[in-house]
Structure formats: structure tokens, C-alpha cells
Symmetry: C2
Subunit: 217 residues, 2 copies
């Protein structure tokens, strides 16, 4: 049985993990019999967004690890405790949490910093020759994890693709139902809600991503 670590970044597309993407990832992994452990950084969210009107809920603070537990019935651990030796692969769903809590890409773009606990774990998985799947905007972390020259996709948005290329990635356009595979670096990426109009479209690309990641184990 393959063991897969899934790193969440809160609960809700605008300040955490995109919930559809996270659940579709966990469902796809469970359907093929993978054993899953969720992780998240034990830090405060960058901010809290009211998901009805898109505005910041000023004065509210929420913890990324605690809120991530809402997605997976509390079965989530601090990513600082994640040991790459114990997992065959790593998958990171998208949502602004990947760009606000796992990194500050949403604020800093190409100059972003990545959460050190997450980065240490993800780099160790990569260095061990194990595959990684990054979904939606999470491929913004590709170069930090896999190094310059890595191939990835965030769909076909020219502006975001160009920022990734500034960071040293090679961006490859990809339709929503598919996943792009950098076989040399064992990185699999899929656009999901960078392109999806419906949850079933995101689910199809995420299933492809999960399938390709597990095939690289």
C-alpha cells in the first residue's frame, strides 16, 4: 500500500485550501487504496476572508493547522513533524492558502518565501526521488521544491505563467482535465480551479494527477 502525504493550508479557497480540490484529492487517493496522512503548517493564517463577499474579516485570526482539520475530520498533523522517509509521495491541493499560508506568493510573486517546515519536508521528499503532485496555484512552489528548470503548469494564464518562468520554471500549458508530468524531476501538476468552471472538471484533472503521481512511485 502506497503512503501519501497531503499538505493542506487552511479550509476555504480564499484564505486556505480549495475545499473541492482537497476532497477530490483525498477521494481519488482513497479510491485507489492509498494510505493518506494530512499535514498542515501550525501557523496563523495570513488573514480570514468572508467567503460570501470576499472581504477580510478584520480582527479575526485562525490557525492553519486547526482550520485544515475541518476538511479531514481532524486527521491532520503539524507538517513540522512530517518525515519524508515515511511517505512514498506528496500532494498539495491549491486554493489561496498555498499562496498565502504555505508561501507568500500572493503578496510577493517571484520573490516569495516558502513556509520553512513545509519546504524542508517537500525538498526531502524530492531529494529522495519520490514524486510530488502540485494542484492549481501550488505549482508556484515548484522551483523552491525541485529547483530551476522544472516543468509545471498552472493552466494557461499568461501573467501567472510568466511569474513562474521568472522564478526559473518552464511553464507548459495544460487543459483542466489533464496533468503535466516532468518525468525527470517526478513533478506532476494540474490546473484545477485555475481553469475549472465546474467541480467535475477539477476532479478529472486531479484524478489524472493522483494517477500519475502514484505511477511514479
Amino acid at each position: 500500500m502506497k503512503k501519501v502525504a497531503v499538505v493542506l493550508s487552511g479550509c476555504g479557497v480564499y484564505d486556505g485550501s480549495e475545499v473541492y480540490e482537497a476532497v477530490c484529492t483525498l477521494l481519488a487517493l482513497d479510491k485507489v487504496g492509498a494510505e493518506v496522512q494530512c499535514f498542515a503548517p501550525n501557523v496563523e493564517q495570513m488573514h480570514v476572508i468572508n467567503h460570501l463577499n470576499g472581504e477580510e474579516m478584520v480582527g479575526e485570526t485562525r490557525n492553519v493547522l486547526i482550520e485544515s482539520g475541518r476538511i479531514c475530520r481532524g486527521a491532520v498533523k503539524d507538517v513540522a513533524q512530517a518525515n519524508a522517509d515515511e511517505y512514498d509521495a506528496l500532494i498539495v491541493p491549491g486554493g489561496f492558502g498555498a499562496a498565502k499560508n504555505l508561501s507568500d506568493f500572493a503578496l510577493k510573486g517571484a520573490e516569495c518565501q516558502v513556509n520553512p517546515d513545509f519546504l524542508r519536508f517537500a525538498q526531502a521528499v524530492h531529494r529522495a526521488g519520490k514524486p510530488i503532485g502540485l494542484i492549481c496555484i501550488a505549482p508556484a512552489l515548484s522551483v523552491a521544491i525541485c529547483g530551476e528548470g522544472v516543468e509545471c503548469t498552472i493552466g494557461n494564464d499568461r501573467e501567472t505563467a510568466s511569474v513562474l518562468e521568472t522564478m526559473g520554471a518552464k511553464h507548459c500549458d495544460c487543459p483542466v482535465q489533464q496533468a503535466h508530468v516532468d518525468r525527470e524531476r517526478k513533478l506532476v501538476t494540474t490546473p484545477a480551479y485555475m481553469l475549472a468552471n465546474r467541480v467535475s472538471e477539477a476532479a478529472a484533472g486531479i484524478e489524472q494527477c493522483v494517477k500519475e503521481v502514484l505511477a511514479l512511485v
Copy 2:
């Protein structure tokens, strides 16, 4: 195209909608091409539970409608505005939100009251001869919506089943991958996380529930 209302009750199993169940419901509906509108009551949650340790986060308050938006990218409306004439069917995922926010079943058991905005809508859907699907613990609302004598399932938990029978329901045991159908009253129920050990088990029963609900339209 069939139009289906899905009523959420917050975001997270312990104080809102069970996130796996909600997403599996929305994914199953989208896969078969149904048009979906999410609703939730515009009320404060009964309380806020830390999903890591199960304890109440004393002093925090959250709004059920706003938090429900985290599941569905903000595409949720106040259930007080829901018009039964506009929908072919209604589905309610589970989670403690169904027993804490849509009703006070978690506190009062057989003596529970149901949120009046939700109840008005659900009863109007039922009176119009349209099918309803209730998932996990949401079948605790069966008698309030469909009247005494209605058949439903919450799996096979004797204690909960007996409370439902006290309220006037006829409880029918049902395995997690299946759904029970009361064809006369057009009520479809499935145990989901009353029994599920894995998200793929809950997803299988929810797909059955969605299929049976749409077949009754």
C-alpha cells in the same frame, strides 16, 4: 436539466456540514449534469469546535451561511430566500451542523426544533411531490419534513434509530454503500459517516442517494 437545492449547515463535521459528504454530494450532482444551488441558514453556529482536539473554542462565534461558503467557493444563498417552485429536488448532507444548526437534535433528541427557514423550504419541496435526499444524521429531520410514518436510515446505530422511531419515523438498517428509498414519500437516505470508515465508502452511498433522488424527479 434538473435543478437541485443543497442545504449546508456550516463547514466542518463537528459544528457544520461534514465536508467530505458535502463535496461528494456536489460532485455527484455535477457529474450527472444537475444544476445546483447551495443554501444555508443565516444564523450563528451553535458553537465553534476546534477540529484538532474536539474542544469548544469558547468566545468564538461564526455564521452558518458565511462558513458554508467555504465549501462551495462562496456560491451559497440564505435558505430564507429559497423558493421550492424553482427546484426539482433537495439534498441535505450530514455533519453535526444538521443536528446543531439546522436543528437542535444534538441537544434535544426527539424533542428537537428545526430551523424555521429551512423547515418551510423543505416542507414546501415535499408538499410539491419533489424528492428529498438526507445524508448521515440529517435523516433526524425526516419526520419534521415528511411527517410520521416516513421510512429512513441512519445506518444501524440502535440508540439513534430508536430516537428517530420515537419521533415517528420507521427506521430501516442500510449499509454504507447503499441508500434507502421511501418511494411513497420520495425520501432517500444514506448513512455516510454514521457508518463510513473511509471517504470512498461515504462517496459510494452518496452517489446512490443522488441517483435515486434524481430518478424520483
